[in-house]
Amino acid sequence: MALPQELVTEFNELCTHYPEKRAALIMTLHRCQEELGGWVSPEIMEDLAAYFEMEPVEVYGVASFYPMFRMSPPGEHVVSVCHNIACELRGAPEILKKVCEVTGASVHGTSSDGRFTVETVECQGACTTAPMFDLDGVYHEELTLESVEKILGGLS
């Protein structure tokens, strides 16, 4: 597999922002995850290694460090529920339970119909609007059990 040309063009421009090309690696990992299946596959790591003239193992070391990079394919939708202290104080455990109930996925798992992956995440910076989850890159804040049902149930 090779990186799609549009991405390569984008990456070439991105690299001009830095005195050393390799600095763009994390930005490119984000873009690959966004555009190529929602996770960072071994193929993506090999392609990026070739692009940056690094060894695949070095790309792997970087990708595996950051919680936002998924190392296995997710469901259609990813629900990231914050379970840190401000959200805990505003009922995060119940929200998490509700999310699992509505989606049919267990925590750090994917529902059997492949629609939802549910994960817990650390503080997302929505403490004064807790509790929250991030759904496919969008924050949903001040959640209630009802709003969880509405937001997730309402997805096509």
């Binding site: 005195p19 460090f65 950051y66 202290i85 995440v121 503080c123 910076g125 929505a126 403490c127 709003s147």
Partner: protein, 444 residues
């Protein structure tokens, strides 16, 4: 000594289109940097003004900003490229203030960045935005494009002949990348492992070049200081902690939100007058004054002044000024289980004491909360926290886990012992549904 009332930080965020260049200009934006460029104000004069203002870093460490800027080497002696790294990684639990500035007033940050770059004579700035802040990143990115187009960023800024580039960059979910050297490693495309110091960033920073790392809110203050002067800045706050801060307050309060307050304001005032007091008519039990790393203080400390000295005297720290409130039904052991779990998750793993210690602390708090704790665990927690910090590790994440551990042992030992003796959490409750706050009562 604390005059209530004068605000400047959040004055523009409610404006329609506040994130646009037009709106920023309308409200006096870019005047400070344009003046500096027009008058060719010497860099050291800019630094002097910042030093005189007494501005201290708003990212958690509270280091005097002017002093930090003065650490950069003389370009005559060290002609290598030089950088400003803007820390928009905001991941300290409880903290959500930089987010507002990035999203609602990005031009204010851009101007602050330009002023800082001028002061430290940097060629370029990199704005490291945490990966989860997508809207914030997009708004800032759009503002940057506007600024570039208007000739305010890039080559020959405002026709002055000065070149300064600003680039955006994303993080990917690691708290440790908010540590200044972890941030630099991450920006260079590597694992976010903090670097041993020395060398310090001003001597060896991004790609080994002189670098200053500054927090978003810190830089955001600069246009105000340069426009209105250090003397004006010192009319707010306290002697050693001048200015206003964005104080977030969350947890068991009626009106959680981010409020602009003068430094030195009593925590009680923030709680009662800004956040509407403890919710549901309940009593205060405990609170984190400045993010999870600052540790719990008991209700009796609620009159503590929210500034660097006041909180230090109370045995805690200002940190990011993110207050998190626990009411009488909350369990401090459960709170620490959650907090310890966070540090276990975020330790980069380099230092033996932190890698193993953060996990160990979490395991003990978890057992204690779930009824499998022993009386000896209380002493053990304190002892482990002592083995982790201070000054024994590459960075302060170990301290960030150790300090709240010491704090709960100091202030809530009885509650911890009760857990051990009872063999369960004495406050075990099911987080009833009626504790959910109605969306209509949303704070700022």
């Amino acid at each position: 000594m604390i005059p209530a009332g004068e605000t400047y930080l959040l004055n523009r965020v409610e404006n329609q289109g506040s994130e646009t260049l037009a709106s920023y200009r309308e409200h006096g934006g870019y005047i400070a940097i344009e003046k500096i460029l027009e008058e060719n104000t010497p860099f050291d004069q800019v630094i002097e003004e910042i030093k005189d203002s007494g501005l201290r870093g708003r990212g958690g460490a509270g280091f005097p900003t002017g002093l930090k800027f003065s650490f950069m080497p003389d370009p005559e002696k060290d002609p290598r490229p030089r950088y400003l790294a803007v820390n928009a990684d905001e991941s300290e639990p409880g903290t959500c203030k930089d987010r507002i500035l990035l999203r609602e007033d990005p031009h204010g940050l851009i101007e602050g960045i330009l002023i800082a770059c001028r002061a430290i004579r940097a060629d370029a700035a990199y704005v490291y935005v945490r990966g989860e802040y997508r809207k914030e990143y997009d708004n800032f990115f759009a503002a940057l494009a506007e600024a570039r187009e208007a000739g305010l960023v890039g080559k020959n800024i405002a026709g002055s002949g000065w070149d300064c580039e600003i680039w955006t960059h994303k993080g990917a979910g690691a708290y440790i990348c908010g540590e200044e050297t972890g941030l630099m490693e991450s920006l260079e495309g590597k694992r976010g492992h903090p670097r041993p110091k020395p060398p310090f960033p001003a001597g060896f920073g991004l790609w080994g070049k002189p670098t200053t790392v500054s927090n978003v809110e810190t830089l955001f203050n600069l246009p105000f200081i340069l426009n209105r002067g250090a003397r004006w800045f010192r009319t707010m706050g306290t002697e050693n902690s001048p200015g206003n801060i964005l104080c977030g307050i969350s947890g068991h309060v009626e009106r959680p939100g981010v409020y602009e307050v003068p430094l030195g304001i009593p925590a009680r005032t923030v709680l009662e007058e800004y956040a509407g007091g403890v919710w549901k008519g309940r009593k205060l039990k405990a609170f984190f004054p400045g993010g999870s790393s600052t540790g719990l203080l008991p209700a009796a400390s609620i009159d503590v002044p929210m500034d660097h000295d006041g909180l230090k005297e109370a045995g805690s720290m200002l940190g990011t000024g993110a207050i998190m409130v626990l009411d009488e039904t909350a369990c401090t052991v459960r709170a620490m289980e959650v907090v310890a779990r966070f540090y276990d998750h975020e330790s980069c793993g380099q230092c033996s004491q932190c890698r193993e210690g953060t996990q160990w602390l979490y395991q003990i708090f978890k057992r204690l909360e779930n009824g499998q704790g022993k009386v000896e665990d209380v002493e053990l927690l304190d002892s482990l926290a002592h083995g982790m910090a201070p000054g024994k590790t590459i960075c302060a994440l170990a301290d960030a886990a150790a300090i709240p551990t010491h704090a709960i042992v100091r202030h809530f030992k009885d509650e911890m012992m009760e857990h051990a003796n009872l063999g369960r959490c004495p406050l075990s409750h099911d987080h009833q549904l009626d504790e959910q706050r109605e969306p209509a009562e949303a704070g700022a």
